[in-house]
């Protein structure tokens, strides 16, 4: 699903990623961890083509991101599900509308988008909150909405950047269980987190970034 060969990313004189090489297989669940500023978010941004690598090759879902024309980026992103620490929900839309919007963008009719949105909200356990606005629900619930939204386009790959960073430990575990369930349905999941307890609790393969360099591979399937 992901092939990353000798990827380096520089911002002027600052090197955010140095010669990073790894692979993630289809259907795999991988943690990406490291201290703040280690390069986790930079790597994820490269994976969803918000940035281009300074050097190296990056192939995601069969697409070489370095050579992908800009006009194809939107279509590529529809194959991904993105989840962020700050949820990135649209405040003046209801929970259901936040999720359904992706359906409209993907090309579903309005009614179909709403139907799918409610299904996904049931899947993540907050269908009862569908008509509320993001400000009216808790952080954990907002992150569930963000996950439901990420699943709307039936993505092959879910990328989550610190999805539990704003949640208490109990809510964080709940969110991770959802990611695990998604992974068990066959979706590849990459979660960036600096929470060692979560990583230990789930025990998946973990890639550790230190000062922009991929240092250690641990957990089940390490070394793949």
């Amino acid at each position: 699903m992901i092939r990353c060969f000798h990827v380096t990313k520089r911002y002027g004189s600052i090197t955010a990623l140095r010669d990073v090489t790894f692979q993630v297989e289809t259907g795999e669940f991988v943690f990406l961890t490291g201290a703040s500023g280690a390069g986790k978010t930079t790597l994820l941004r490269l994976l969803y083509r918000a940035e281009l690598p300074t050097s190296g090759q990056l192939v995601v879902a069969g697409r070489n991101l370095a050579t992908m024309p800009k006009r194809q980026v939107a279509g590529f992103r529809r194959k991904l599900g993105l989840v962020f620490q700050d949820f990135k929900l649209i405040e003046d839309r209801t929970v259901a509308d936040n999720v359904a919007l992706v359906g409209r963008v993907v090309g579903f009719a309005k009614a179909e988008s709403q139907r799918r949105a409610h299904e996904l909200l049931r899947l993540v356990g907050i269908d009862g909150r569908a008509e509320l606005f993001p400000a009216q629900i808790s952080g954990g619930e907002q992150q569930r909405v963000a996950i439901a939204r990420a699943l709307m386009s039936a993505p092959a790959l879910v990328l989550a950047d610190e999805p539990t960073g704003n949640l208490d430990p109990d809510r964080a575990i709940e969110i991770m269980r959802i990611f695990r369930a998604i992974n068990r349905r066959g979706t590849t999941v990459v979660v960036a987190t600096h929470d060692p307890d979560l990583i230990a609790a789930l025990g998946y393969r973990t890639m550790v970034l230190e000062d922009g360099k991929l240092r250690v591979l641990t957990g089940r399937g390490a070394g793949r």
């Binding site: 969803y48 918000a50 939107a74 993105l82 919007l101 963008v105 579903f108």
Partner: protein
């Protein structure tokens, strides 16, 4: 994405955005409405004056003014001449008393001014309607030459001379209206661009989310273009309603005032063609404003981020 769903999504998002940010959008709608009222007002006036002049021209009137001391024989001779002229469709003789009566009707606000004069200064005249082939300027000039040398004739005037002068005025109004219309439309476009720019900034987070979830640039921009178009449409509809109100008031005022050309002056509101031009101008102003907003908002920098 299917084209119909794309359009439906752009329109629904635009309506939602406009309603949600109606206070921000209101100034653009107002300035478009005011601009189109100015433009439409000039259209209305120049169209009606143009129609008036056309009808006046079609009337084909020539007026033969008699000397104040013309004899009855001279008057009869001219009447006989007109009877035998194949270019004359009809004529009416207005005696000095008829002319005075006509003056009192036309200028009732001046009171009975004639009563204060020692004698009636208004000459008798023949109001001649020439037939269709003779309503060209060359024919009218020829008829005028024939009639002004007849004994007892003081002067011969045909409407075309006055119409020519008035046409210059109407063309001046059209030109000034066009210039003013372009100026106010430019102001409307700039205002719309600024409003859309503010709307883009207010919804930057939403735009980022849309791009993250795979929205195309055409969809991101399409909704704002649709917002510009809807602002223009609303502005032009408001302008048309306001113009119609002003037109109704104008008609009532002119009808109450009377005047020599009232029978010719049946005012018309803007027809379908001009109405559509006005609405189209409003929509175009909104769309151009939205395009300008995107061209200068710097939003392109992050368009695939």
């Amino acid at each position: 994405m299917r084209a119909d769903r794309f359009v439906a999504l752009c329109l629904s998002e635009a309506l939602r955005g406009l309603f949600g940010h109606r206070r921000t959008a209101a100034p653009a709608i107002a300035i478009i409405a005011v601009s189109l009222m100015v433009l439409g007002g000039f259209m209305l006036v120049s169209e009606n004056l143009g129609t008036l002049l056309e009808r006046w021209r079609e009337r084909g009137h020539v007026q033969i003014f008699m000397d104040l001391d013309a004899t009855q024989e001279q008057v009869d001779a001219i009447a006989a001449s007109l009877d035998g002229n194949i270019s004359v469709e009809a004529y009416t003789y207005l005696s000095t008393d008829d002319a005075a009566e006509q003056f009192r009707e036309d200028f009732s606000e001046l009171g009975d001014l004639l009563a204060f004069l020692d004698e009636n200064p208004l000459p008798s005249s023949f109001v001649v309607t020439v037939n269709e082939p003779s309503r060209q300027e060359r024919a009218l000039v020829e008829l005028t030459r024939q009639w002004e040398i007849l004994p007892g004739v003081e002067d011969v005037q045909y409407d075309l001379q006055i119409i020519r002068r008035l046409e210059l005025g109407v063309n001046g109004i059209r030109f000034a209206g066009g210039l003013l219309g372009i100026a106010v439309l430019l102001a409307a476009i700039i205002t719309t661009a600024n409003v859309i720019r503010v709307l883009v900034v207010e919804r930057r987070r939403e735009i980022i989310v849309l791009r993250m979830v795979g929205s195309t640039e055409s969809l991101v921009r399409g909704r704002f273009l649709a917002e510009g178009a809807i602002q223009g449409l609303l502005g032009s509809v408001i302008a048309l309603i306001a113009l119609y109100g002003a037109y109704k008031i104008g008609v009532a005022y002119i009808s109450a005032g009377g005047g020599p050309l009232l029978d010719l002056f049946s005012m018309q509101f803007l027809g379908w063609r001009l109405g559509m031009i006005l609405v189209g101008s409003g929509v175009a102003a909104g769309v151009v404003g939205a395009l300008m907003a995107f061209g200068s908002s710097g939003d392109r920098r992050g368009q695939q981020r």
